[in-house]
Symmetry: C2
Subunit: 251 residues, 2 copies
Amino acid sequence: MPSETQQDEIPKGEKLYEGKAKVLFQGEEEGTIIQYFKDDATAFNALKKGTITGKGIINNKMTELIMINLERIGIPTHFIKRLNDREQLVQHVEIVPLEVIVRNVIAGSMAKRLGIEEGTPLARPIIEFSLKDDDLGDPLIAEEHVLSLELATDEELSEIFDMTHQINDFLRGLFAGIGIKLIDFKLEYGRIYDEDGIGYRLILADEFSPDNCRLWDIETNKKLDKDRFRHDLGGEVEAYQEVAHRLGITL
Amino acid sequence: MPSETQQDEIPKGEKLYEGKAKVLFQGEEEGTIIQYFKDDATAFNALKKGTITGKGIINNKMTELIMINLERIGIPTHFIKRLNDREQLVQHVEIVPLEVIVRNVIAGSMAKRLGIEEGTPLARPIIEFSLKDDDLGDPLIAEEHVLSLELATDEELSEIFDMTHQINDFLRGLFAGIGIKLIDFKLEYGRIYDEDGIGYRLILADEFSPDNCRLWDIETNKKLDKDRFRHDLGGEVEAYQEVAHRLGITL
């Protein structure tokens, strides 16, 4: 395990952005970014704040594992490599200003909004879009809004649907293999431009961790994700560790 | 674990068919079939014959686990329930006379036929079709043959492609979660008719076991499937047990 000293040795450029759970620095090489994963946890658009000890390390290593696996099945991602316990190097992208939400089982905001009991399975997965805007509370939007507001093109949307379904099928399998139900999750995509600055392709540009998905034990339905923090259920550190352990991640 | 006596108590109807690895009996209820999983192993269109002790139990339980998981993501299958260690109850279907082969990594007959080294990953999965005919050695056919010989309709083919890709994505994830690469596998589909005898739908109608797929350890590339028997590598019993163990199956 790298010591704190080794971590400090990574040459980091300018601090670009500090978010709720990550800090972004300019990478040494042009077009790269270093993501630093914090233990800070927020919920309900940062109205609730706290810390989940060790979360940053788990989220960093879990994202590495998921991205490597997704690359293996042909999903392009922004992930380049993990640098140490809390940092990973990624490609700089132009982010598509959408939160792409996939739901296999009704939970969270959808349960509340539609008055349907949490845990109700969906006949087929739903892909929802939210406008990525913290000030507005990431409002839910329809496909028509995405197109009319020119947040993404028709072609991009169709690519996002295809990739997202494939990612969902793969990750449902991956978690089923370790006794976990993938209830829902959030993804973001980005555009990466060719040298001419005109041609580009869409790639997955996000972390994947219990911070942005719901994971329930397949037998007991025990929540193994940030809902433990959101709803003061306790045991959030142990839940994150449990997921990492089942995935074979060494902490 | 059910004793041999209990197994014999299952009321089985007429023996319908004895295949290389399974025996099919008429089920008690109309439209059902009991599949009995044998330990017999054959390869190279039955030119090579042998036994893999305990294989029938593993294949029966592994198929149960895979079918339950596939049903959860919305894939319709012929599986009804496991009856005991060696038997499962399935729906009677009109089989589509195609072996649907999915390849993620080049191996087996494709490596041989195209002279490409086994283990070469494919940029994207390939779906191949073979005509289900033992006497002809299940010859490879193209999509055009499927349509022109009226083995399946255009609509059915498109459904087979969609379902097969989804099954592949899910199973690659499931096996990745337990440290196994899904190299390739074979599926069969069947038609199940409505009461009017006209309307019907396609469902997955096959077993899923190390008999009809290739599974390699993700780290060492050790073969954990019937290739151990096919090519006299030894340790086939242990390999089947290893896969069952990683899947959490109690033998």
